[in-house]
C-alpha cells in the first residue's frame, strides 16, 4: 500500500491543485501604433513613450539636388499611460504646424482562458489644431480671386473617433478593424462638402520572429471629399523591437501623420513613383515612471 502511494508522482498531485491561469492576451501588436495608425494596445500604468514619426519622399521633378530626400514631414510626440486602460498623448507636427492630443481607453481585453472574450476593443479620440490650413490653394476671395481666404481659427480643428477592434488570431497573426469617424471643420468651407467623414481601417501584423513583425494597414473612406482626388491610405512595414526601443519602418502613400488628415486626405495612391512613395520611420522609446 505504501509502495502504491509513493509511486504516485508528486508533480501529478500538484497538477490536480487549482491554479489561476486566467490571464488577458498580451501583445496583440508590439506597439501602440500598427504602422501609421493606432493599434488596440494600451501600455500599463506609468509608461511614458516618446516617439518620433517621420516621412520622406521625393517630388516628381526629374532633376533634384536634395540631400537624401526632397521633402520631409515629422511629428514628435509623448504618450503617457494614466492607468492600464487609459492612455493620453500629445504631439507636434511640422507639416501643418499641428498640435494634436488624444485619449485612448481600453474597453475590453481579449482573453483565451477562463472567462473568454474574443476581441480587444479600445476607444480612440483624437483632436488636432493646425496652424497652417491644408486648403491652401483651394479657397480664394470672391471679390479678388488673387488673394486667398484667411481661414478662421475655429475652422482649423479636426477630430478623429475610432473604435479599434482586434483579435490575436494566432501567436503570430493579429488583425484589427477600425470603424472611424472624422470631423474636419475646414472641409465645410468648400461648397457642397461635408465636414463629416466615415472610414473603415484594416490592419494586420505577422510576427516573423520574436522581435520582428511585418505589418500592413489600409483605410477605406466611405465619403471622400470631391474637390481633390483622394486615395485610401496604405502602409506596408516592419516593426522591430529592440528592448526599450521600437523601430517601425514603412512604405506608404500617406504623407501626413495625424489621423484625420492621412485617413481622409491622402492625395496620392500607393505606387513606387516619386511623389507617391513615402518612406516612413518611427522610433518609440519606452520609459517606466
Amino acid at each position: 500500500m505504501i509502495q502504491v502511494i509513493h509511486a504516485q508522482d508528486l508533480l501529478d498531485v500538484l497538477e490536480a491543485e487549482p491554479i489561476d491561469q486566467q490571464q488577458n492576451t498580451i501583445a496583440t501588436f508590439k506597439g501602440t501604433r500598427i504602422s501609421i495608425g493606432h493599434s488596440v494596445e494600451t501600455r500599463k500604468k506609468g509608461a511614458l513613450e516618446i516617439s518620433t514619426v517621420n516621412r520622406f519622399w521625393n517630388t516628381p521633378e526629374e532633376e533634384s539636388q536634395s540631400f537624401a530626400a526632397d521633402k520631409w514631414n515629422s511629428r514628435i510626440g509623448v504618450d503617457y499611460a494614466i492607468s492600464d486602460r487609459f492612455t493620453i498623448g500629445t504631439g507636434y507636427g511640422t507639416g501643418y504646424r499641428s498640435v494634436d492630443v488624444f485619449g485612448k481607453y481600453r474597453l475590453f481585453y481579449q482573453r483565451d482562458t477562463g472567462n473568454k472574450f474574443p476581441f480587444s476593443i479600445t476607444l480612440f479620440q483624437g483632436g488636432v489644431y493646425r496652424g497652417k490650413s491644408s486648403l491652401k490653394g483651394k479657397l480664394y476671395e470672391e471679390d479678388d480671386p488673387t488673394t486667398m481666404v484667411e481661414i478662421s481659427a475655429e475652422n482649423k480643428f479636426a477630430t478623429t473617433t475610432q473604435l479599434l477592434i482586434s483579435r490575436k488570431i494566432s501567436r503570430n497573426f493579429s488583425l484589427q478593424i477600425a470603424p472611424t469617424y472624422v470631423y474636419r471643420a475646414e472641409d465645410k468651407l468648400i461648397e457642397d462638402n461635408s465636414p463629416h467623414h466615415f472610414s473603415l481601417g484594416f490592419g494586420g501584423r505577422y510576427k516573423v520572429s520574436n522581435h520582428l513583425s511585418i505589418v500592413s494597414e489600409y483605410y477605406y473612406v466611405a465619403n471622400p471629399v470631391d474637390f481633390i482626388d483622394t486615395f485610401g491610405a496604405f502602409a506596408l512595414g516592419a516593426n522591430w523591437e529592440v528592448s526599450d526601443l521600437l523601430l517601425q519602418f514603412k512604405l506608404t502613400n500617406a504623407r501626413n501623420v495625424v489621423e484625420d488628415k492621412f485617413i481622409i486626405k491622402t492625395e496620392n495612391n500607393f505606387n513606387f513613383r516619386n511623389g507617391n512613395l513615402h518612406f516612413g520611420f518611427q522610433a518609440t522609446y519606452f520609459i517606466q515612471l
Binding site: 508522482d9 498531485v13 500538484l14 491543485e17 491554479i19 491561469q21 501583445a27 522581435h211 517606466q288
Partner: protein, 183 residues
Amino acid sequence: MNKLLLLLLSVYSIGIVQAQDQYIERQGEITFFSYTSVENIEATNNQVLTLLSSASNEIAVRILMRSFVFQKSLMYEHFNESYIESDLYPEATFKGDIVDFDADLEGEQTRIIKGEFTLRNITKPIEIKATIVKTNNGYMISGMLNVLIKDYDIKVPPILSPNIAKNIQISFKFQYVPHENQK
C-alpha cells in the same frame, strides 16, 4: 469477516498517515535576477505552487510564467512574448529529492536537492543547495540556484546580448503547511 475489516481499516489508516506527510505551499516566492553592466532585470513570482513529502523526501514545484511581476511593464511583455514564449510553455516545473533530509530535526539544516528542472519543455538535471527549517506546522525551504539561458534555448538577439545575463540567478522561499486535501 472481522479480519478483513481489520485489514481494510489498517490500510485506510496507513493511507491517512501517508497523506499527512505531504506539505503544500500555494504562494511560494521565486525571484530571478539578470545582472549586466547595461541593465539589471528582476522579477518576482508570488504564486508558486509546491509540494513537499516528508516521507519520501521529495519536492515538486510548478511555476506559472505569466505570474512573474516586473517593475518595468514592457519587460513583462517581452519576457513572455519574446523570450520565454509563455503562450507555448506556460509553466516551468521542478521535481527533486532532498538528499539526507531529516524530517524530524528541529531547527535548521542545509541540504542538497537533486532534481530536474523543466523550462520551455527542456529538462535538465540540477542540484540546489537549500536551507530547510522546521516550523510549527511545516517546513520552510529557501535557497538559490543559477540557470544558464542557453541550456533552455532562450534566444537573445545579438544586439541585445549585452542586456541579458548568460547566467540567471534564481532565489526561492517556500513555506510549507500540511496538505489539507488528503485522499
